[in-house]
């Protein structure tokens, strides 16, 4: 499916928002969350630019599954490091092991369900962390109410991730054309929710 001008504009806005977050939005954080958020928004920024340049065919690359794992893993790591000090080390180990597990199961020619299982577990835990932590923190008064928007972004990234994963697995929930039609808008909404949510949190 050919990428339209509107798609390119939406992706450019996504990239600009991600660039703003990297340059300004993560200032004054401690080292690890700053690196984690920079990596997450960096992947969003470069992915947006590559989609503008290469078109939706870029999504057919097998590397997409691995790269797209980086966003939820690094975002959730930043959130846990900032807000759940007691679980920092455990979660850092989970992120490293989870990423390596996805990397290995995607690079080796495995024919069983292990790659999908690993992907579901790692994505699931990271996605739920991004979705639930900000919402719980906002509603219990441990963070500003606007921080819940990060959870909204988490829900949107979850929807996008499920749609793309099932599409690549050959069991799509929606047609490829429909998914690609909503993807740029979904990416922009998700990034906007993250950026505004993090801004409200400070």
């Amino acid at each position: 499916m050919k990428i339209s001008i509107l798609d390119r504009i939406l992706l450019l806005l996504t990239s600009l928002l991600a660039a703003w977050q990297i340059a300004i939005g993560v200032d004054k954080l401690s080292t690890l969350p700053m690196i984690a958020y920079t990596v997450a928004f960096g992947v969003l920024l470069v992915a947006g630019l590559l989609l503008i340049i290469l078109g939706f065919e870029a999504l057919d690359s097998p590397i997409v599954v691995i790269v797209s794992t980086v966003i939820p893993l690094s975002l959730s790591l930043g959130l846990v490091w900032e807000h759940l000090a007691a679980y920092r080390t455990v979660y850092l180990v989970f992120v490293i092991v989870g990423f390596l597990a996805i990397l290995i199961t995607r690079l080796l020619p495995l024919r069983d369900k292990l790659p999908v299982l690993v992907l579901a577990v790692v994505h699931g835990i990271a996605g739920l962390t991004i979705f639930l932590l900000p919402i719980v923190w906002a509603f219990t008064g441990r963070a500003a109410p606007g921080f819940a928007l990060v959870g909204v972004g988490g829900a949107l990234i979850g929807i996008g991730g499920i749609l793309l994963t099932l599409l690549k697995a050959g069991k799509p929930l929606l047609s490829r054309a429909t998914i690609l039609k909503v993807l740029p808008g979904l990416l922009l909404l998700m990034t906007a929710a993250f950026v505004t949510g993090f801004a409200f949190a400070r």
Binding site: A19, I22, A23, V26, T38, G42, L49, I53, I63
Partner: protein, 284 residues
């Protein structure tokens, strides 16, 4: 009036506006890297006009000299000179007038700035195009050196002298040029072969060229990053530059490990976008 507009429409493609614009942005970034925030709008306007004239002028002279090659290549055979819409004498006159105006204006603004602008024009037209382009694959090096002159010129105008950061910035552009030119040469390999140009690709082959692109991308990104830090760029912008550099590096690696036409042209376009973004970050 109609005649002038028709001529301008014919002349504009001779300037290769995108390439000229990108080089102009490096010159402005070089100046602003030394003088930001910019208060003297007259100087920056003079810089923009003189650089545009000099770069456009040298581009037109190059196109005048290479009109026989352009006529043999599918990609360029419709250019105004190659297709006969503009006569060679007319193009040469235009190129010389713009070059003299550009260099003259630059010298009037600052002799050092004018000297660097003239060096860029000399390396581009005389050394690269007329002397080496048809003789050796290493002509690209001189094309790169001339490409690095606008940013050095801009910084020299801002500072009143040539410093290490300026040379680092010029090196960044020099090492970025192979990514830009060689990916383009890969896309139009048959065209260049038909014209008999000894491109780096034709002499050393695709794998060596891809590896060269990857290495030069890394060196270019490191040079821009180092220059940014030395200039005192905000850490947020350094982070952003690092992310964009990582994208360039990964694409270059992808073009080595999984070479396809799509990745190659993606790298070409990303490299242009990268340079523009880097120049904006250096300027703010």
């Amino acid at each position: 009036m109609h005649r002038i507009l028709t001529k301008l429409k014919l002349y504009w493609p001779l300037t290769k506006s995108l390439q000229t614009g990108l080089l102009l942005s490096t010159g402005l970034a070089g100046y602003m890297s030394a003088r930001c925030p910019v208060f003297n709008m007259g100087t920056i306007l003079g810089l923009a006009v003189s650089l545009f004239l000099a770069i456009a002028g040298s581009t037109i002279i190059n196109m005048w000299y290479d009109r026989d090659i352009d006529a043999k290549m599918k990609r360029t055979c419709n250019r105004p000179l190659a297709s006969g819409q503009v006569t060679p004498n007319e193009a040469l006159r235009l190129g010389l007038i713009l070059s003299v105006l550009g260099v003259g204006m630059a010298i009037a603004m600052s002799p050092l700035y004018g000297l660097v602008v003239f060096a860029g024009l000399f390396f581009d037209v005389i050394v690269y195009t007329i002397w080496l382009k048809r003789r050796t694959a290493w002509a690209i090096l001189w094309g790169g050196i001339s490409g690095g002159m606008p940013i050095l010129a801009g910084r020299a105008l801002g500072l009143g002298q040539i410093d290490g950061i300026g040379i680092l910035l010029a090196l960044a552009v020099l090492f970025w040029i192979p990514t830009h030119i060689l990916t383009f040469a890969m896309r139009y390999f048959d065209d260049y072969a038909a014209a008999g140009i000894p491109t780096f690709l034709a002499v050393y082959g695709f794998p060596v060229t891809r590896a060269t692109i990857a290495v030069s991308s890394v060196v270019a990104a490191l040079s821009i990053g180092a220059a940014g830090i030395l200039i005192g760029m905000e850490w947020g912008f350094v982070r952003l530059l690092a992310v964009l550099s990582a994208g360039l590096f990964l694409l270059a690696i992808a073009s080595v490990l999984r070479p396809t036409e799509r990745v190659n042209f993606g790298l070409f376009k990303y490299a242009s976008l990268y340079m523009l973004a880097a120049m904006i970050l250096l300027s703010v």
